[in-house]
């Protein structure tokens, strides 16, 4: 026996691990939530571009974030009446371009995007193919001297590009600026000065723009950042605070030296940002974000809605089968027809419980009445069941029409009951009635209904709906459970009752000595 058990348990373990492992991998890769109604917060950022059009053709080019570290773009759209809009990608840069043949007076353009925080991608930035080189910097006197001196002092107190940047930003932002710093800052911003000084020191550096996202802020501006290239990657610096790296709440909007806003045919252009925090269903997010992932092939999201809803029911069936196996093998409830309860439970899913129960019992009850008349007609078996099928269809139609006339919408859903199965159930119950009496009919019918209701209760749980549909591989775990129960040789719950009286008789005390 042991020789047989080992492969069996290996299969069970493989099924469980395979099911759970695939589910976990898909959860990780596609961010499909394990629980329904799980939400994730997204930042809705609105960029508003204002300018004054000069009455001629207008072209506005605005830098859009391209895969900002730490964030993913969930949706984006531009709203600007009268303008044509397109997104142009070039050299890894994305720019939104608004165009109009003719415009004059104040103009407002909007760009909206939803950002999802993706903490994992904060450090993983696309690397450049080749290491960038520091650009040549030209200063005019007397700035050149001031810059040289400032750099020299900073170099003495630093060892790495990062520490150099820190030293420089300290000197450029301290409360009592020395003369050199003051001179440089008289014509340039801190960020621009820092960028030039770093390049002069031979460290590749560039200016970037970031947006701090905070809930319900309006009229925010982009914050200038300096990125320096060190250790084979770009590192961001906030020149004012000296903070290194990209904070959690900063969306890197624009990188490089090109201006982030170009307006041709307009003047006095300004950009301001407003943002709010929103919550969206995590599942929607996962579907939209990862539809191209190889793991998406395992899901059914790509099918049409109609096919998806069919799969939704299909993937619930193993759960019902599990309930039937449990109730029959471990509990020992008698049902009429092995898997009939699952089909009834599926019908309950459409009709909801109370109306479903009432209509099922009334259809089967009426069917039994009709069947008792049929038994006098001495029909052959197959025609008799076919007669029942037709009668059941009439019964269901009449019940649903009556229900509809009485104003119960649910009346119509009775048609979801599997007619053939109901006809067979009526036939079996009727034979059972004749042979074993009404008690057995109540036992088996009641058993079937109990199992059906339990299966229904389990299948209508939002959690089980969500899990079986989004992680169909979890059905492997259900399969393993069913197979394990197939090995059970212990007593059923009902047997503990069945053999109870036997145990009472069992004591070996002779009859005479009992009180």
């Amino acid at each position: 026996m042991n020789q047989m058990r080992l492969p069996f348990y290996l299969i069970i373990a493989a099924l469980v691990l395979g099911g759970l492992g695939t589910a976990w991998a898909r959860h990780q890769a596609m961010q499909i939530p394990f629980f329904p109604n799980e939400t994730q917060s997204v930042w809705l950022v609105e960029a508003r571009i204002d300018f004054f059009a000069l009455g001629d053709s207008v072209q506005v080019s605005f830098d859009l974030p391209a895969g900002p570290p730490g964030f993913d773009i969930f949706t984006e759209q531009a709203a600007s009446p009268g303008y044509g809009f397109s997104i142009v990608e070039h050299n890894g840069e994305r720019r939104g371009e608004w165009t109009r043949r003719e415009a004059s007076g104040p103009q407002t353009l909007y760009y909206k995007a939803q950002f999802v925080a993706e903490p994992d991608t904060r450090d993983a930035r696309a690397r450049d193919d080749q290491a960038p080189r520091a650009r040549d910097v030209y200063w005019e006197e007397p700035e050149a001297t001031a810059a040289n001196q400032l750099l020299e002092q900073a170099l003495q107190t630093s060892s790495t590009p990062e520490s150099l940047a820190r030293e420089l930003s300290k000197r450029l932002t301290s409360s009592d600026l020395d003369q050199n710093a003051e001179l440089l800052l008289s014509s340039r911003s801190v960020a621009s000065s820092l960028e030039r000084l770093m390049n002069q020191a031979g460290v590749p550096a560039r200016l970037s723009m970031g947006l701090y996202v905070e809930d319900a802020r309006r009229r925010q501006a982009l914050t200038p950042l300096v990125e320096i290239y060190s250790d084979d990657r770009w590192q961001a610096f906030n020149p004012v605070t000296g903070q290194q790296g990209i904070p959690e709440n900063l969306v890197l909007w624009h990188q490089g030296s090109q201006a982030y806003l170009d307006v041709i045919g307009g003047r006095q252009s300004t950009v301001s940002f407003s943002m709010i925090r929103q919550t969206v269903p995590a599942l929607e997010l996962a579907k939209a974000q990862h539809s191209d992932s190889p793991f998406a092939l395992l899901g059914v999201y790509r099918l049409s809605i109609e096919e998806q809803s069919m799969f939704k029911l299909l993937f619930l069936l193993p759960l019902g089968a599990l309930v039937v196996v449990f109730m029959r093998v471990l509990v020992g409830i008698k049902t009429s027809g092995t898997f009939m309860p699952i089909l009834i439970a599926l019908a309950f899913l459409q009709t909801s419980l109370a109306p479903g129960l009432i209509s099922f019992v009334s259809i089967v009850g009426l069917g039994l009445l009709l069947r008792s008349y049929l038994s006098h007609l001495n029909l052959l078996l197959v025609p008799r069941i076919a007669t029942l099928v037709v009668l059941v269809i009439f019964l269901i139609s009449i019940l649903s029409l009556v229900g509809y006339q009485l104003g119960f919408n649910t009346g119509m859903t009775i048609t979801f009951f599997p007619m053939i199965i109901i006809a067979w159930t009526i036939e079996r119950m009727s034979i059972l009635w004749e042979e074993e009496g009404p008690q057995e009919v109540v036992t088996q019918g009641g058993g079937s209904l109990i199992v059906a209701v339990l299966a229904y209760l389990l299948m209508q749980l939002p959690l089980s709906n969500h899990l079986t549909f989004n992680f169909p591989e979890l059905n492997l775990v259900i399969l393993a459970l069913i197979m394990v129960m197939g090995q059970y040789t212990g007593y059923k719950l009902t047997e503990l009752r069945r053999f109870h009286d036997m145990v009472d008789d069992a004591p070996d005390v002779p009859e005479e000595k009992r009180p």
Binding site: N378, L381, T489, L496, R497, H500, D501, M502, V503
Partner: protein
Amino acid sequence: MKWVSPWRLKRMGILGMNCRNREFIGRYNERERYPLVDDKLKTKLLAEDYGLAMPALRFVVSQQHEIGHIERKLYDFDGFVLKPAKGSGGKGILVITGRHGDKFVKASGAEIGIEDIRRHMTNTLAGLYSLSGQPDVVIVEDLIEFDDSFEGYSHEGVPDIRIVVFQGYPVMAMLRLATHASDGKANLHQGAVGVGLDIGSGRCLHAVQFAQKIKRHPDTDKPLNEIRIGDWRQLMILAARCYDMTGLGYIGTDIVLDKSRGPQLLELNARPGLSIQVANGEGLLPRLRHIEAMIRTHWKILPGYHKPLSNRPPHADAEDRVDYVIRTFGRHQ
């Protein structure tokens, strides 16, 4: 509601449904041999080959058109039994004990007409009583004449003896007596009396109705502990030989005693129920495990093999197996 702990049941050696299905029926009954017992016509023909005593087959009705003029054949007999060949649990068995004019008299005394018999046959042919509704044939066979020793012990129906035979060894026996409550049927859960029989002598050990211990027949008030089945060894041998005939390792044999012809095999069951344990007040498991162990020690496991060479019973003759069982499990010698 009263319950018993599973450990207590296990200590008592009670065989549960799951254990029976997996470890005995699943392991010892080969699927391909099931038709030999599920189809009573096959059993009957096979029993003739093996010389096992069964009620004689009169004729078989297999076509619907034969039913139209069936009365010509039936009026030749006084009493007969109609059976579906693939029926289960005693369903569809019609016992006609005699005739009263044009009417046929059922075992219960009720009279039915030829039309009722025709309908019964039609239903049987259509598969109403067969295991999964498949088309069936009607067997018409001889009526058993009951042995007088059961006088007063059975209400209407047939007192039959169920013996569970494991690997050719009859391991437990009970006598089923129909009662008024069971409506003449011999199923314990319908209210028939189950009398546990000593496997060594055929004497009453214990009797139950509705799982409660009783001492007297509920309808006739006859004391049940006086029951002793005659021809016991012969009856056991008949049961044991059913194994040689079918090759099924775990079967229930239903045997009746005929007044003149002795023990007659009524039918075989490849999925015998568990209530025999209730009737005996004893679990089956210790006896089944004993037989398993006995066979295993007889056919020693050779080094390098994980199974014994054979799991055939060491006693090739049914008589030897019966004697072994009487020696080993019998109470009264």
